[in-house]
Symmetry: C2
Subunit: 434 residues, 2 copies
């Protein structure tokens, strides 16, 4: 196997910013044809409900469903998936679920209010979503850990009913996924997928109840459908390829760092693994580790493509320069494999999750550290956050004016409303002036 | 002027749910032609920067701009707009700004972390967005109150730079809007609008800096452009027509209730004003008030169309039934004009803002009560929240594993990763096991 050829950059070079933008660029253009095909599926499901869902499911998932009720898995099916799990896997899933739940409990928002001197009360009331849909991909990309990461925060938020959809190509289901659904407390599971599943959750059918929000990853049809039903329901972020950025001072075992880079690269050819170091000799050592370890990896082909086309080893003059690069990249996963990660972390402004210290492998966060592994990709950490309990709660403003408060506020509102020529607003306020 | 004809419904009738859905239905279908026109404008601005922005601005806003620098208003222009304001309006805007800021301070999220027994630290770090774009419509729909409501929470969040865009048709600007921008601490103002302004903010040009998130209302081109740049930047919700739902026990002055209904109806023909009462005689009294007051209103034509086509008076058997209807509607604005609004409020699950008691006119909340007037419309209160400080902050997960923590977690992660056939993940975790 030939040595791998990874892009080398130097942050002090005059052309670095342009090179970095080129490295990060990822063409994720909207495909108009897919867009139109998905629009048609959504319209069909809205108009024809179960019948359309059955037709698409039979066609795309090679099934022979005749009644919509066949699309739902019984609670017993989920329970027996859990009961049939090897003890070691059950124990590991249970540990992960417990830790995800414990962390999520810290994210719960609470209602608050305060009373002003004149007796007027202002506040914010927190309520959970009534019903949420969780999309789980079928086939090889079916990850029980993702079921836990999406379902547990919803349950902690107090969501009334959690509906999971997962395609069952040829009728085949993934027992680990069903076991995770059982463990996470998913309420109902339908074996449907694709744009038709998203449409069914958004608008409801005779059999599948409409939800308030749809979360979870999927292919381009699922992602497009989620974008198109946004507004009718809430959605989580549209996920791009996975990324890791590692900042290392050169004193971590290079094999560890190489394997950490692999752990993103193995996800898919478009995944992006970048290492930044102040120590150019260390970059060389990691490259040697990469070439040493690559032939031993199950997914060597995917890793090689990912590292060759999208990976990079970046030399910086000092750790502050590394932080500057990290803030430009706004990575999904950021490992601070350095002596004093707290000091560095203070200046990090944009990252989905920050893994601090040499022992905090990103993979620990993927499964069981507790924080969510659903994270903003493609630089969206500049404006968005990990999936959390807060995504399954919402706020209502509370305003309760005393008579005195309405008198004072009414005068101000009247002036401003008349300034905007909204006289019904003004007169409505003026009625409450003494 | 003929009496107005408002839909009457009875929640106890067998057909009520269908009638209610019919009343709420609002066709807001995506227009493919607008979609494609906006896509072209975005591509043009991405490729040609300032030149494209100038071209569209000259064409759509009837201007004769030759250099991009002409598009920016000077700080002095904003300051003098504020200085030239009549004292009464300046005082009212200042009062509103102070109250909006005081309420917003309660929404600020703070970082947190906790340490586990083995020394592992988990937490969440809060950071503000670097730079935000605020879209302000030009012409008659230019509301200084909206500038305050969008800009102040961003500033409270600690956003580094706030860029406002507002079209200036024929070169005309709205002095009240500029004064509000000055008061709210907006950093830079460009007189551009439409899809070209959204594209410029999303991707940046030579003159207009790229932002992380775009907020603020706009016409269908602006709304479509915001949808299309979502992902490149964050956006707030896409606002539909304004709505008010009033629940009244029949003991509030019917003139007050009529004017509260008008205060939404005057916004636009598609606005929706609905009154629910247990007292059918009161519904009649409000109808009389409507017909008495309507001829005195500046926007009588708009109000009449709105109330006739989208308004309703709904009779319910008791206040619990009213709450059930409110939870189906999930209104933007909900007035609880009853004796004990706290009792009713407990059971409200979905509403953008809740106005409690007979003195709390919705108009007070629009201007100066403190809570934001940017609220989820069209039933989206089922899954989304008022605009707030939290929309201008984001979270990063923090994970700092001790050596002991990595040892324990590594074993769990290894089992789960191997269950998902992700062996680089597994080996990365295993490297940290003692």
């Amino acid at each position: 196997m030939s040595d791998i050829n990874i892009t080398r950059l130097d942050a002090s070079s005059a052309d670095f910013n342009r090179q970095l933008q080129h490295l990060l660029a990822f063409d994720d253009a909207d495909d108009l044809e897919i867009h139109q095909r998905v629009l048609a599926i959504i319209a069909d499901v809205r108009n024809n409900g179960d019948k359309a869902v059955i037709d698409y499911t039979n066609r795309f998932d090679h099934r022979a469903v005749t009644r919509a009720s066949e699309l739902e898995l019984s609670p017993e099916t989920l329970k027996s998936a859990w009961n049939n799990l090897p003890a070691e896997q059950a124990q590991a899933l249970q540990t992960a679920a417990d830790r995800i739940r414990a962390y999520a409990e810290h994210q719960k928002m609470e209602s608050w209010q305060y009373t002003e001197a004149d007796g007027t009360v202002l506040g914010q009331k927190i309520t959970p979503l009534d019903r949420v849909g969780l999309y789980v991909p079928g086939g090889k990309a079916a990850y029980p850990s993702s079921v836990l990461m999406n379902a547990i925060p919803a349950k902690v938020a107090g969501v009334g009913e959690l509906i999971m959809v997962v395609p069952a190509p040829g009728g085949e289901t993934n027992e680990l996924v069903l076991a995770a659904a059982y463990l996470a407390g998913v309420d109902r599971v339908f074996t449907i997928g694709g744009a038709q599943a998203v449409a069914a959750l958004a608008y409801g059918t005779e059999t599948i109840p409409a939800v308030a929000k749809i979360v979870g990853p999927g292919n381009i049809y699922v992602a497009t459908a989620k974008k198109l039903v946004f507004g009718q329901v809430g959605i989580d972020m549209i996920a791009g390829p996975s990324e890791i950025l590692i900042i290392c001072d050169g004193k971590t075992n290079p094999d560890w760092i190489a394997m950490d880079l692999f752990s993103q690269a193995e996800h898919d050819e478009n995944a992006q693994s970048i290492l930044i170091s102040t120590d150019v000799a260390f970059l060389g050592a990691v490259e040697l580790s990469i070439n040493k370890l690559l032939p031993t990896m199950e997914r060597a082909g995917i890793i090689r493509t990912s590292l060759t086309t999208r990976g990079a080893l970046i030399k910086v003059s000092d750790l502050n320069a590394a932080v500057d690069v990290a803030n430009i990249i706004a990575p999904e996963h950021l490992e601070l494999s350095v002596e004093d990660p707290e000091a560095l972390c203070k200046n990090i402004r944009h990252a989905g999750a920050i893994f601090m210290g040499r022992y905090t492998a990103e993979a620990l966060g993927d499964y069981c550290a507790g924080p969510n592994h659903v994270l903003p990709t493609s630089s969206t950490a500049r404006f968005s956050s990990p999936l959390g309990v807060y995504d399954f709660q919402k706020r209502s403003s509370l305003i309760n004016c005393s008579q005195a408060g309405a008198d004072t506020l009414g005068k101000t509102a009247s002036i401003l409303a008349r300034g905007e020529s909204l006289t019904a607003h003004a007169r409505s306020a003026e009625f409450r002036i003494k």
